[in-house]
């Protein structure tokens, strides 16, 4: 039996209501015990986590790993390394690969690649409709059987309400959510950023917040009609937040995620026409950012998800209006939020940890997100005093399209354990030894 003991860390495990200095014992890749003064079995590896924060492994339920099809942007190997470096032990990857993950062969391929080349757990998300065209349902039954943990046409919005209604109904027996990329493509029109004073001054076509709100409203009504579990991806407007809050109060099964960039940036960031501030949904106004943060704190928003969307320089270096949508986020999410939210006193640490662990795990029925005995030993260790600077060229991701380039702050993940083993080499905390 191989043992690992993390000693004297502040253990924050929201699932089990733990926030105390304790030890975590891992045996054969699973959590064996959490408690004070645990003895290290003979031959155990002991990690001194004194002064650090020990959490269940962070989970990002919204990433684009780009493989198969767009390996020049990211691969399962580089994307999962990026995840591990950012403190994530599991990711759920969207279906807009090429070919689209709308059939079992693609799901099998992703899972096989992840087993061989991935360094964190990879959970595929299947397409709702064939080829993401919004017309005919994908073979959801087989996709669920193959291991898809949710369904989404993310990147596109299923504009036909009838098709979406049928998708929600059809998915009911599989017990997994339908994840909505809520963007009315007619209202969004050719908008390349949020509509408002900044878009007017920059002369860039704006899309109104209503383009998102209209679809969130529709999807909530469809969830109410069908009884499906609807999950709103990358919520970004005050209006959408209000509707989700109201729907939950009525008992509709709707959950939501928010991205780090929508929590700490506004459309003011677009002023330099930097394509790394272009994404869908776009960066919104101050009022929207505040509404998202409030909803995250109170739990109306269940989790933070990065919408990690790698793009090569050639997809991003042209004119703003022509540049691809999306930013990488796996390596910046935790440091940026630890500094800008927790350190600045806008959100308490246990709540942030919950939104990265128990929140996403519950939402997708994943085995992680908790330090319960018998659970996989997926563990993220944070150092709240670690200073950082975002250097795009040092990212583990194959792409560099971060809006946080040059940002500095304090507080970062320092060790990521998947199944009790460091997900990346060269993470410095582990020292061999034992008490007995």
């Amino acid at each position: 039996m191989s043992h690992l003991l993390l000693r004297n860390g502040r253990v924050i495990d929201p699932w089990n209501g733990v926030d105390a200095v304790q030890d975590v014992l891992v045996a054969d890749g699973k959590i064996a015990k959490v408690g004070a003064g645990l003895k290290a079995p003979a031959g155990a590896t002991v990690i001194d986590a004194g002064g650090k924060v020990v959490c269940p492994g962070f989970i990002d339920i919204h990433v684009h790993l780009r493989e198969p099809g767009f390996e020049y942007k990211e691969t399962i190997a580089t994307g999962t390394r990026s995840a591990a470096a950012g403190g994530f032990t599991a990711v759920a990857c969207m279906a807009n690969t090429f070919p689209v993950n709308d059939n079992r062969a693609v799901t099998d391929y992703i899972l096989a690649k992840a087993r061989v080349e991935g360094c964190v757990r990879v959970y595929p998300i299947g397409a709702v409709t064939r080829a993401l065209k919004g017309e005919e349902l994908a073979e959801m039954g087989e996709l669920a059987e193959a291991g898809c943990v949710a369904f989404s046409d993310d990147g596109k919005c299923v504009m036909n309400a009838e098709v979406y209604r049928r998708a929600m109904e059809y998915a009911l027996p599989f017990g997994v959510p339908i994840i909505s990329h809520a963007e009315d493509c007619h209202l969004a029109h050719r908008g390349v950023m949020n509509e408002g004073l900044v878009s007017t001054e920059l002369g860039l076509a704006g899309q109104p917040a209503a383009a998102e709100d209209v679809m969130v409203a529709r999807d909530i009504l469809l969830a109410e009609l069908t009884g499906a579990h609807l999950h709103i991806a990358h919520i970004s407007t005050a209006g959408a937040v209000r509707m989700v809050r109201e729907a939950r109060a009525r008992g509709v099964r709707v959950t939501a995620e928010v991205t780090p960039h929508h929590l700490v940036m506004t459309d003011e960031a677009v002023r330099d026409y930097d394509a790394n501030t272009k994404m869908a949904p776009p960066l919104r106004g101050k009022r929207d950012v505040e509404a998202c943060l409030e909803a995250l704190a109170e739990g109306t928003i269940d989790c933070v998800a990065t919408d990690h969307a790698p793009h090569a320089l050639s997809d991003k270096e042209g004119e703003f209006a022509e540049a691809a949508n999306g930013v990488v986020g796996l390596e910046t999410a935790v440091p940026v939020l630890l500094d800008r939210l927790v350190r600045q006193g806008r959100l308490d640490l246990p709540t942030l940890v919950a939104r990265f662990t128990s929140g996403p795990a519950r939402l997708l029925n994943l085995p992680g997100g908790r330090l319960s005995a018998g659970a996989p030993a997926d563990i993220t260790v944070l150092d709240l005093e670690r200073a950082w600077t975002v250097e795009p060229r040092h990212l583990h991701s194959r792409s560099r399209n971060t809006p946080f380039g040059g940002w500095t702050g304090v507080g970062a993940p320092v060790l990521t354990l998947v199944g009790g083993k460091p997900a990346l080499p060269n993470q410095p905390l582990a020292v061999p030894g034992g008490d007995a």
Binding site: L197, E201, L202, G203, D272, G318, E319, F320, A321
Partner: protein, 308 residues
């Protein structure tokens, strides 16, 4: 004042003193146009590249004449018949041009922000000759020069800008420039053609033409692009012209010394009736003349004023 800027990208960037410097310099440049030999050696040995990704007659010609009267070597590069057609990116094209050591690159591009991107990446001066729906600073400067010439001053005037403000780079540059010079600006047009949060730019917004132009010292009519109709912003050109076109009839209620301006090219019979476009209130051709003077001033300030 000493000119310190490397580039001219927007009116939003400029200080009032800088605007005055361009206008004052333009006035001295204007004198050159009245000479029999319209050439001074100021920019001899300097190279100006006109990098035009959108078709333009007036602006490109205006920059070309401006450069030539100052004795610069002016090269025109238009997107058709060039590497842009072969898929070369804007940045690559610009870097290639820079490798030939120009002093000024004048750029027009359909994408808002394209000149700003070039300015960040090129060592030479970059002049924005119109980018998307963002800005067209030399147009605003020539508009200000024309108004100052005709009215004797700028401060305290009322200017009404009419039409497709949403898609107009001229309107944005005019609004910023005029506000900085103490002009009160009103914009008027159908709500579908007024951009979001327009009041926050510090202008009055009106949806009735007669009301908007009643007290105006200057009326700036914007060009209506035909594609606005197919894109659903207005029902028809006919209706637009009836409601928002400026005819002699509607001018009856205006000040007797009102100036009618238009950045061109005019859609005759749409935003302006021919009688108004060619009538006594119109200073549209003065704008064109002043355009050359303003561009001479801009090229001089960017390329010639530092130890040339």
């Amino acid at each position: 004042m000493a000119w310190k800027r490397k580039d001219l990208l927007s009116m939003q960037d400029l200080e009032p003193a800088e605007i005055r410097a361009v206008l004052d310099t333009s006035e001295s440049m204007k004198e050159i146009a009245t000479r029999e030999i319209k050439k001074v050696p100021t920019l001899r040995g300097k190279t100006v590249v006109n990098l035009f990704y959108e078709s333009s007659t007036r602006t490109r010609t205006s920059f070309e004449i401006a450069g030539k009267w100052l004795s610069a070597d002016v090269i025109n590069f238009s997107a058709s018949g060039s590497s842009a057609e072969k898929g070369e990116s804007l940045l690559d094209t610009a870097k290639n041009i820079e490798a030939m050591s120009p002093d000024v690159v004048v750029v027009r591009h359909k994408a808002s922000g394209a000149p700003a991107m070039l300015a960040r990446n090129l060592r030479c001066a970059v002049v924005n000759a119109g980018d998307g729906a963002h800005e067209h600073p030399t147009q605003a400067l020539l508009d200000l020069l024309t108004i100052r010439e005709k009215k004797g001053h700028l401060e305290g005037l009322n200017v009404t800008i009419v039409g497709d403000v949403a898609h107009s780079r001229v309107a944005r540059s005019d609004i910023h420039g005029m506000k900085k010079m103490g002009i009160t600006v009103t914009v008027a047009g159908p709500p579908t053609l007024i951009p979001a949060a327009c009041q926050e730019l510090g202008v009055k917004v009106s949806h009735r033409l007669e009301e908007a132009i009643a007290h105006a010292d200057v009326i700036m009519m914007l060009r209506l692009q035909h594609e606005r109709m197919t894109a659903g912003f207005i029902p028809s050109l006919r209706e637009y012209s009836r409601v928002w076109g400026l005819s002699l009839d509607k001018l009856k209620h205006c000040r007797s010394d009102v100036l009618i301006m238009h950045p061109g090219p005019v859609n005759r019979g749409v935003e302006l009736s021919p009688e108004v476009a060619d009538g006594p209130y119109s200073v549209i051709l003065d704008q064109v003349t002043n355009g050359v003077a303003v561009r001479m001033a801009v090229l001089y300030l960017l390329a010639g004023s530092k130890g040339a």
